[in-house]
């Protein structure tokens, strides 16, 4: 079967679908592992029951989520070979190493200790059990680090040489691949966005219960933890986004010009708020701009020259030969805006919430609330009226989705903004596909994965909703009396397991 499509089109769609889907779960997994570990640490240190109930509640949602992250991650490990065999041959010497490191170091960590944590409540002493969830958290961070190092090499290849005889890139400096500024900035940006995502998830669910005045002590604590996480995560996402942007202006000027729909270079360059243009002719028909701001984003001053799409394209043609080196400009432009817009909306709502629910700072004593009361939302001196209070809680619930949308567009922007390159400046996407795999095969696997993922999404969301609504579990005797010996106490030989599938 031969469709009237470029050979890479279907493979790209498939990669986009499987990877964006996978990345819905990744940031939640990273942040919820650490947040759950934090709550469990609070339980071990203070022995306050609300922390243990919170640990169990968020731990459950974390597990429902990580299950999907793990299984969709399996595809990631193999699809380079399946759909992108020429890519794999060209980059394997460089790109394979961080992937192998990820599996050998991070995946084993995560998956082994998650088993210990899930089943270990009545098998491990309290502190060892706590150590297991921290190990999982470390595993998730390491895993993300290695894969981001691999991706950063695609954005900005370093530490390699080209072996002409074998027709491939070969690694010469692995340390550089792991520590180049693209890697460090991408890691910083992705980690902080992950915590923004998990924080917003926590805020949203806590707001859902507080709006209904249910499970107040646990949800009050969760709300504050979530809001702090959103505020810190959001701030760091903005800071790291700015530095990553500056790195990208140096390394991939085309991506950033496309992100601004800046067709021709300007000095000083304006930041585009809205643009609608003619891609074929290479200009904007409608443009709303803030003068000088783009120069500032790129180079930290309001005067510098920023190259545009048309001049960068010309420069790239001179360097790499004839061809079109433009990405799809509207996708880059709007992807960039949706990433920032949704991410920062979530950050603002969190920041607002942190102020509204403050406990003592500049809060009249009359409005301070106890452990089992829903906090008043106090803007200045008085609580918000009931309708506005309700509105804030509802907005907070919906904020959950914003970072997920922002993350997805962030990746779509950075990957599509690099096109036509798969490895920037070295290797083009059209040369990367598997020559031996037919379009029918790619189409088959794309339909299979998309259908399967759609079904699993429904299953997953329904389960999450069920467990969110159920709220934190009541504690049992066994929960409050964890074993003192590894493997469980012998007096419990015939007792049912604390957790079983």
């Amino acid at each position: 079967m031969d469709l009237a499509l470029a050979p890479e089109t279907l493979a790209r769609w498939q990669f986009g679908i499987t990877t964006v889907y996978h990345f819905l779960f990744v940031p939640l997994t990273i942040s919820l592992a650490a947040l759950t570990a934090g709550l469990q640490t609070a339980w071990v240190r203070t022995e306050k029951e609300k922390y243990l109930r919170a640990t169990k509640f968020w731990g459950k949602l974390f597990l429902i989520n990580i299950a999907m992250g793990v299984v969709t991650g399996i595809v990631q490990e193999f699809q380079f070979g399946m759909n992108w065999s020429d890519y794999s041959r060209f980059v394997g010497d460089v790109f394979g190493a961080p992937l192998a490191f990820e599996a050998l170091i991070a995946f084993f960590f995560e998956s082994t200790f998650i088993g210990l944590w899930i089943f270990g409540w009545d098998k491990l002493p309290k502190k060892i059990h706590l150590a297991c969830i921290w190990m999982v958290s470390i595993g998730t961070l390491l895993s993300a680090y290695f894969i981001l190092a691999a991706n950063s090499w695609m954005q900005h290849p370093v530490g390699y040489r080209i072996n002409g005889e074998k027709g491939r890139a070969e690694l010469t400096d692995f340390w550089l691949v792991l520590t180049q500024n693209t890697t460090l900035n991408q890691v910083f940006h992705s980690f902080s966005a992950a915590f923004l995502t998990g924080g917003a998830f926590m805020v949203g669910i806590a707001a859902f219960h507080l709006l209904r005045k249910k499970h107040i002590p646990v949800m009050r604590t969760s709300l504050r933890l979530g809001l702090v996480t959103v505020a810190v995560g959001g701030l760091l996402t903005a800071v790291s986004g700015d530095t990553l942007g500056k790195v990208m202006y140096e390394q991939q000027p085309m991506k950033m010009a496309a992100a601004e729909a800046l067709w021709d270079g300007e000095k000083p360059a304006p930041f585009s708020v809205f643009a609608y243009g003619d891609v074929d002719k290479g200009h904007n028909k409608v443009a709303l701009e803030i003068p000088g701001l783009l120069s500032f984003l790129a180079h930290s001053d309001f005067e510098s020259y920023v190259p545009g799409i048309n001049d960068t394209n010309k420069a790239l043609q001179e360097k790499f030969g004839p061809g079109d080196y433009k990405p799809i400009v509207p996708v880059a432009y709007w992807g960039f805006r949706w990433m920032i817009g949704f991410g920062m909306a979530s950050f603002s709502i969190g920041l607002l919430g942190l102020w509204l629910t403050r406990k003592k700072f500049l809060l009249p004593a009359a409005w301070r609330t106890g452990e089992d009361e829903v906090p008043h939302l106090v803007l200045f001196r008085k609580p918000l009226r009931p309708r506005l209070t309700r509105l804030y809680w509802l907005v907070a619930v919906w904020t959950m989705a914003f970072p997920l949308i922002a993350n997805s567009w962030g990746w779509i922007f950075t990957e599509m903004g690099r096109q036509p390159w798969v490895v920037y400046g070295l290797f083009q996407t059209r040369d990367a596909v598997s020559p031996g795999v037919s379009q029918a095969e790619v189409l088959t696997s794309m339909i299979v994965f998309t259908t399967l993922y759609a079904i699993l999404a429904v299953v997953e969301v329904k389960l999450l909703v069920k467990y969110v609504k159920a709220g934190p579990p009541e504690l049992t005797e066994a929960d409050l009396n964890p074993p003192t010996k590894i493997g469980g106490d012998s007096r419990d030989a015939d007792k049912p397991m604390a957790f079983s599938y």
Binding site: I64, A67, V70, V71, T72, G73, I74, E77, F78, F80, G81, S88, R89, V91, G92, D93, G96, A97, L99, A100, F101, E102, A103, L104, I105, F107, F108, S111, T112, I114, G115, L116, I118, G120, L124, N163, R168, E170, L171, F174, S434, G436, S445, V448, F449, L452, L456, V459, L463, K466, Y467, G487, G488, A493, D494, P496, M497, F499, S500, Y501
Partner: protein, 334 residues
């Protein structure tokens, strides 16, 4: 021994680890239909592997990642060539993982039954397909001068590879049966012991045929030793199972897997994927491997990480060493 030879061995080790560990959890999945008589028994079976299956599966991801890094050409040819079977395996592994995690998360019987059906099929199918894949790798497939697979999906379903599939399916089921004997208590343990004998006999016949075929087509003295070791340890595993020495039976069925994988890799070397079209187009440890620098870094990583992994995974098995019976399975929903 050059570094690419070391990596050939290490890839074999990773696959061995995978088949040894995920082998029994595939087997346990198959036994949910073959051994369990009622739903509490099914749950006992699933819970024998509950804390460990995920860690077991990572051996596959490591084998995949390490192949990408150490033998990019092998990785590229293998996974683009075996595209559709690999797709089936991936779908199975996705559904299987979700099935374990989600099955007990709702009380409805229909929900749980569906996931149980999924666990059975998604254990059985990959257990079979991995044997088919390795049969084809050893036998060789149509590889052209650009190292691309030039055959169709039906070429992969040849008698030798299909027999290989039956061997892994039977061997993993046997391995799972002796594992269940080792990990359970009560009536199910007794039945597992009896079933082990029957499954073991079938496995022995299939393994004898497959290993004999492999040996006569492409064996040498060393591979013969491995083949004999595989058959002998399988026979001893049967004896041990019959005598009720469950620990021994499990170690020996594991040894059978080790020796079988060793035999296959021995007959493969120095190829990693022979071409049936022209032996000059075969992928070998030399023409498929990464540069010495990459291999050196990878060797350091593997030399440090693998023993550590084995220690903490081994510790997990020790933590969950208690046998499980129906009395340990409480309320259905958590």
């Amino acid at each position: 021994m050059e570094l690419h030879d070391v990596w050939f061995v290490l890839i074999a080790v990773l696959w061995t680890g995978y088949f040894f560990l995920e082998g029994f959890d595939f087997g346990v999945g198959v036994l949910t239909r073959l051994l369990a008589r009622n739903r509490p028994e099914k749950r006992v079976l699933i819970n024998t592997i509950g804390p460990v299956w995920d860690g077991n599966e990572v051996w596959l991801l490591s084998a995949g990642g390490a192949t990408f890094a150490a033998f990019p050409e092998w990785y590229a040819t293998l996974f683009s060539g075996f595209y559709l079977p690999l797709l089936v395996i991936l779908v199975c592994l996705i559904v299987r993982g979700v099935a374990f995690e989600y099955r007990a998360k709702r009380p409805e019987e229909s929900w749980q039954r569906n996931w149980e059906t999924a666990i059975f099929w998604t254990s059985l199918i990959p257990a079979f397909l991995w044997g088919v894949a390795f049969g084809n790798i050893v036998r060789g497939v149509k590889i052209d001068q650009d190292f691309n697979y030039a055959g169709g999906v039906l070429d992969l379903l040849n008698p030798y590879a299909l027999l290989g599939g039956l061997v892994t399916l039977a061997l993993f089921t046997f391995h799972g049966t002796v594992f269940v004997g080792l990990k359970t208590v009560g009536e199910i343990r007794e039945r597992a012991r009896k079933l082990a004998l029957r499954v073991g006999l079938v496995t022995a016949l299939l393994a004898l045929a497959f290993l004999g075929w492999t040996q006569s087509d492409r064996g040498d003295g060393v591979s013969l030793v491995a083949a004999v070791a595989a058959v002998a340890s399988l026979a001893l595993a049967l004896v041990a199972a019959r005598a009720g020495r469950e620990g021994w039976a499990f170690s020996l069925s594991g040894l059978t897997i080790v020796a079988t994988v060793a035999m296959l890799f021995l007959t493969l070397f120095p190829n990693v994927m022979p071409s049936t079209l022209n032996s000059d187009w075969s992928l070998t440890v030399t023409n498929a491997s990464s540069s010495p620098y990459t291999l050196k870094i990878m060797t350091w990583c593997a030399a440090v990480a693998t023993p550590v992994v084995m220690v903490y995974q081994g510790w997990t098995y020790w933590v969950f060493r208690k046998r499980i019976g129906t009395q340990h399975i409480a309320d259905p929903v958590h």
